[in-house]
Structures are given as structure tokens and as C-alpha cells.
Symmetry: C2
């Protein structure tokens, strides 16, 4: 008879176990980073985590690019009592999709974020106060340039792979176009070479919710008792709808009521339907961990990203690397529909590059690459992909 054994982080053989937040500060003046928007920024602290062991040849490192509101804490627990592990714990660990018993895995919080890497909550060295809205405008390219500096600092010449979903997938594409010799493979999940104008529209209304919250105070809300929580929560609620699919909302909530079987006919009850209650909960949870200025910066970076505008046609820009590509889309993802992935794949085929493409069938929309029940499907593709990449390199 099978028994469920509850593993503590330390004893679960499929967990990376207890992990440590690391950080390094680079781009010290006068070697500041000149951003795409022409302003310079430095020093830049980069918060990151690593799992597994870098081998002697230093050729088994995989860099994970996190999505819009993710962070460096991918797997394991920082403290034994943590209720939840990192955001991709089900996919990263010994024997998992990204196997930490074979590979050295790195993830860093993005530039402009709010989880340890320099961002608007960090003190501006010129004033000692948080940058706030004065944090310089940044792009996906700037994010990737900072990550590349981290990889250089870690003494890794060439990554076995870069992998990321959504905004993380944009970083992967930028990485391939900008540093073609620094990667052996690239995994792009639920992403595309640019955000659709519909996606820009949703980001715009989300930012609008923040800008019009009076507690936003033109971005200068640090140290204030009340922050633009309503605006930020609303932005998240709007965005969250685009991460789901009509089908997944229908399956999970339908038109079910939250509090009773009877309609209340009360206009001021905001959580009458379960889907409303769920969105409110998501908004509330989000503001506990995220910063409004970071949200503004990173959604704008997402809007601005346009691989072909920056690097020319993909069949040329992606031809500069001999990395193997894995491109994955999801059937019900309407933020980055499969057509976006096909464009990448088609350009790689034109460039006679090694590319594997899968459209995975899932009801879970854009978020499918983060949903535990969908990960076995992804495991079966990603795991052999890295193994073959590693083996084919080792044979040379």
C-alpha cells in the first residue's frame, strides 16, 4: 500500500533543499552600465540563487530568466519553515525537468525588480533615498546585459542553456541575438519576439490604475504609511485575467457564487462570483510582494521589446548563434499565441538552425508553464533537450 510521506526540504530527494539568496555588486563607478535609454546606472547589485554544482569544465550551467513578477528564488526553501518553495520548484531539482543533479542552475532577479537586484526601491547613491520613479528607464536588453555580467563574474564562458517563459522568453531571445557565442541552447516558453498591441493595451490599463491611485504620489511613496496598493492590485487583477484562459476560468470557477447559493442583489458586494473573489485574492497577495514602480518599469520594458526592431530580421539575428533552440507554446495562451512562436521557429528554419517546436495542449492559458499539473509534459521535452545538448557538446 502506498503511503504519502511528507518530506521536509532537507530530506526530500527531489528538492534542492535549503537555498541561500546570494548577491554581488557590479558596475561600480566609473564603470556604470549605460542603459539603452542613454542614462547610466551603477553600482548594480544582482541578487541570485544557484542550485547544483558547476563542474570542472564549467560547461553545465543553465541560466533561468524569470517572468514579469518572478524573482531569483526558483526552487527549494530559504528557511525550513517556509510554507512555499520557489516559484518553479516542481520543475527544477534533482531528477526534475531541469535536473540539478546534472546541471548548475542560476537565476537572478531582473534589473528594476524588487527582490534584491537594484531597482526603484534601492537607494539612489546620489541622494541616499530610494530611486522611486527616478530609476532610469530600462529595457529587456539592459536586463540581459546585467545577467551576462553576472555569468562573466561567475567565470562561465558559455552557458549550456538559457531558459525562460513570457518576459523570460524575451530575455532568452535577446540573449541569443546579443551574445550568440555565450550559449549552447535556448529554451523559449510561451513568449514571442514582441508583445502584441493587445498586450500593450492591457499593460497600459494596468499602469493607468497605478498612476491614478492618489497614493502613488508620482512614484514617491516610499516611507509613506499607505502605498498605491489599490492601483497595483488592480493592475495585477487585470493582468491575471490575461494569464488564464476562458477555458480555465470556466473549468475552475464557471459562474459559481462565492458566499452562498443565492444571489445577493447587492451592488457593493465585490466578490459575489468565485472568479471575482479569486482575482481580489490575487491582487491582495501581489501587493504584499511587489513594488508599483518596478511594475511600471518592467511592463514598459515588455512593451518596448521588439527583437527585430533592435537586431534586424530574426533569420539573420538568430543565425549568429549555433545554439540549439526549443520553442514551446500553449494552445490556450492568448497573450502569446502560438503564431508568435511559429515566427521564431520559421526564422530559425530559414537560418538552418537546430530547432524543436511544440505547441502543448493545455487549458491553462499563458500561465501553463508555471502550473504544476502541466509540468510533466514540459519535463518530457526539456529534460532530453538539455541532455542531448550536453552530450552533443561533450562529443566534440
Amino acid at each position: 500500500m502506498a503511503t504519502d510521506i511528507e518530506h521536509t526540504p532537507e530530506t526530500d530527494p527531489r528538492s534542492v533543499g535549503l537555498v541561500e539568496k546570494q548577491s554581488v555588486t557590479l558596475f561600480h563607478p566609473p564603470h556604470e552600465l549605460t542603459l539603452e535609454g542613454d542614462k547610466s546606472l551603477g553600482p548594480i547589485t544582482i541578487a541570485y540563487e544557484t542550485y547544483g554544482q558547476l563542474n570542472e569544465a564549467r560547461d553545465n550551467a543553465i541560466f533561468i530568466c524569470h517572468a514579469l513578477t518572478g524573482d531569483a528564488h526558483v526552487a527549494g526553501r530559504r528557511r525550513p519553515e517556509d510554507r512555499k518553495p520557489g516559484w518553479w520548484d516542481a520543475f527544477v531539482g534533482p531528477g526534475k525537468g531541469i535536473d540539478t543533479s546534472k546541471y548548475f542552475v542560476i537565476c537572478a532577479n531582473v534589473l528594476g525588480g524588487c527582490q534584491g537586484t537594484t531597482g526603484p526601491t534601492s537607494p539612489n547613491p546620489a541622494t541616499g533615498a530610494p530611486y522611486g520613479i527616478n530609476f532610469p528607464f530600462l529595457t529587456i536588453a539592459d536586463i540581459v546585459r546585467v545577467h551576462k555580467a553576472l555569468i562573466d563574474y561567475l567565470g562561465i564562458d558559455r552557458l549550456l542553456g538559457v531558459v525562460g517563459g513570457s518576459l523570460g522568453g524575451m530575455q532568452v531571445l535577446e540573449w541569443a541575438a546579443r551574445y550568440p557565442d555565450s550559449i549552447r541552447s535556448a529554451v523559449v516558453l510561451a513568449s514571442g519576439p514582441r508583445l502584441s498591441p493587445q498586450g500593450i493595451a492591457f499593460n497600459a490599463v494596468g499602469r493607468r490604475a497605478i498612476f491614478t491611485d492618489p497614493r502613488f504620489r508620482d512614484g514617491d511613496y516610499y516611507g509613506q504609511e499607505d502605498k498605491p496598493q489599490f492601483g497595483l492590485a488592480l493592475a495585477r487583477m487585470i493582468a491575471h485575467i490575461t494569464y488564464l484562459s476562458e477555458k480555465s476560468i470556466q473549468m475552475k470557477f464557471g459562474r459559481k457564487l462565492q458566499h452562498s447559493d443565492e444571489l445577493t442583489y447587492d451592488l457593493q458586494r465585490e466578490t459575489e462570483f468565485q472568479i471575482e473573489s479569486y482575482l481580489h485574492y490575487q491582487g491582495k497577495r501581489f501587493v504584499e510582494r511587489f513594488d508599483a514602480n518596478s511594475y511600471l518599469l518592467l511592463t514598459r520594458a515588455m512593451d518596448y521589446f521588439d527583437l527585430e526592431e533592435a537586431h534586424g530580421p530574426m533569420r539573420e539575428s538568430l543565425a549568429r548563434t549555433d545554439a540549439r533552440f526549443l520553442v514551446v507554446s500553449y494552445t490556450t495562451d492568448w497573450l502569446f499565441p502560438t503564431g508568435q512562436s511559429r515566427e521564431i521557429v520559421s526564422a530559425l528554419l530559414d537560418a538552418r538552425r537546430d530547432v524543436t517546436f511544440l505547441e502543448l495542449d493545455s487549458p491553462h492559458g499563458h500561465d501553463a508553464f508555471l502550473i504544476e499539473s502541466e509540468l510533466p509534459m514540459l519535463h518530457d521535452v526539456v529534460s532530453p533537450f538539455f541532455d542531448v545538448t550536453y552530450a552533443s557538446h561533450a562529443r566534440h
Copy 2:
């Protein structure tokens, strides 16, 4: 050589010309309307317009049910100097899709609206002040019951047809189920027997934008200098995205910039992309003509509507009328996808009712039934539909 002749409203033979806003007050105490939420409301003033002539047999009347933010002003101009005609002027007039040279056309502003029919901006007889947030909760059924009272008042026993799109289509379905003997035909455009939970989600975030605007003042903002314009505009911007389609946004705006060919790298510029500028413009225009409390009430009525919950299976509730049905959906409508129309059609077929169904190919999403370029297609279906309905009745 063809010359463009500019027609004034009075001389354009295809326009209904100058029109007058009419109104009648019904449900005088003690004959108040008992609403579905059990509160009673009266007196109720109904603002409406009519076009064409009611014939002697009083059997050529068509009632138009307007959508969420529409009003009774369907066609023509109220004053010669009006820059714009009514919202469906391209479809309603002599020789148009709904031919006012043959039919007597009526449209009334909905209960709870803000264009002349009793709603939250109307004075509460108990206090003399506007109802505001104390306006009683209302449903689609309540809206239809008020419209039916108007038809009775006009001395019309049986309508040749009721027609409506989106929230108007819900009213048409409710009308058919509630007053089966009062209609000879029903035209349901871009609608369905209930709003999807995804639609509820979008309505919820829109209402949230209003509720969290400090100028909303719990709905008591009348007479105040500043109204919840930011919240209402934001609600409209969010909703407007759902009225378009990914394709139409791509076609009309793509990723084109609004002000220059160069990105500005300015986080506080909210209208960098054309799609952003367009949404801001839509929000700004909307708050000039619409009331926040009305928006709350009517979106909630839309959420609540569930034809089968209220009247039982459609194959039974819609079998009670012998009206002919015309059901139209649009290929790129994702707020009311074609599946919703198919459900209605399938129930009508089960009930052996006379139904015509068309999925029209259009890039314009949910709003297609309002877009001038898409109306010739609709004309070719609706015009013969009413002619045949009228002729088949006349033969009896």
C-alpha cells in the same frame, strides 16, 4: 462625374432626419415596479425615440434594445447642428437594414441608465436628491419589464420584432422567454444566454476601478466638483479592449508610436503607442456622457443575467414563443464567442422553432455589429428577415 453631395439631415433621403427625445412616466405609486431584487421603484420615466410610422394595424413595430452604454438615440439628429447622428444611424433609416419607410422603430434608454430613463442620476422622490448608489439593484428582466410597459403604453400588442446586440441581445432573449406572445421575431446579435466568467472578470476589474477612485465617495458624488472620472475612464478602457479583437488592434494600430518615430524612454509618457492613445481617448470621451453609478448597475445586471437559471432550459423557455429567430455572431468576438450563439440555436432547433443562424466573418470583434463597414453584411440578413416575418404574418 460623381460628386459628393453633402446632405443635411433634413434632405438626406436615407436619414430619419431630425428626431425628438420623447418620454413617459409610468409605475406611479402605488403601482410601483417590484424589481427582481425585491425592492420597489416608481415612478419610472422612460426616455425613448421612434422613427417611421406605426401603421393602422399596429403590427409593424420593431423595438431596438441598446447595449451597455448605448441610449435611445439610435438614428438621425436631435438638432440640425449635431456633429454625429444616433449610434446605429447607418443601420436604421429609410431603405436601411431596419427600414423606417416600412417599419415603426422604437428604442428606449434602459432602466438604471443615464440618458433620460430613471436611473441613479434621477431624483429619489423620497429625498429629492439623486438616487446615487441607493438606486435599487436591477436585472435584465427589470429592464425588459419596463420596456414592455412602454410598448403597452404605445398600444402595441405584438411587436414585429425585438432586436439587440450584446446586452441588447440578452434583453431580446429575456423578452422572448418572458413575453412569448408579444413578439413575432427576435434578432440576437453578438450575445448569449449568459456572460462568461471571463466577462464577469473584466466587469469586476472595471467596477473595482470605480470603487477605488476616491472621488467615487461611495457613490455620492453628484453635485461635487470632481467625479470619479479616472475610475470610470479606466473601466471603459479595460472594457474597450474586450470589444475589439487582437486582429483589429493589430490592423488599426499595430505597434505604431503616437508622437514620433522614436521611442522616448520616458516611463511617465502614457500614450507612447497609438493603441494607448486610442484607449485614453475612448476613456476621456466616455466620461463626458456616462455616469459611474449607472455603469456599476448595468455591468452587474449583465453579470447576473442567466437565461436558463431564470427560465429553465432554453429548449423549453424559448419554445413558448412562435417568434422567428435570427442569431448572428462574429468570428473574432471573444466576449461573446460563436459558441454562445450556437447554444441558443441548438435549443431553438430542439424546440423545432424557426431559426436562422449566421457567423459573420469580421476582424472587428464584439463591436462588429456597431461598425459601419460591417453593416452591409448585416443589412443583407436583417432586412429580408423582417420582410419575410412581416409578409408571413400578413398572409395569415
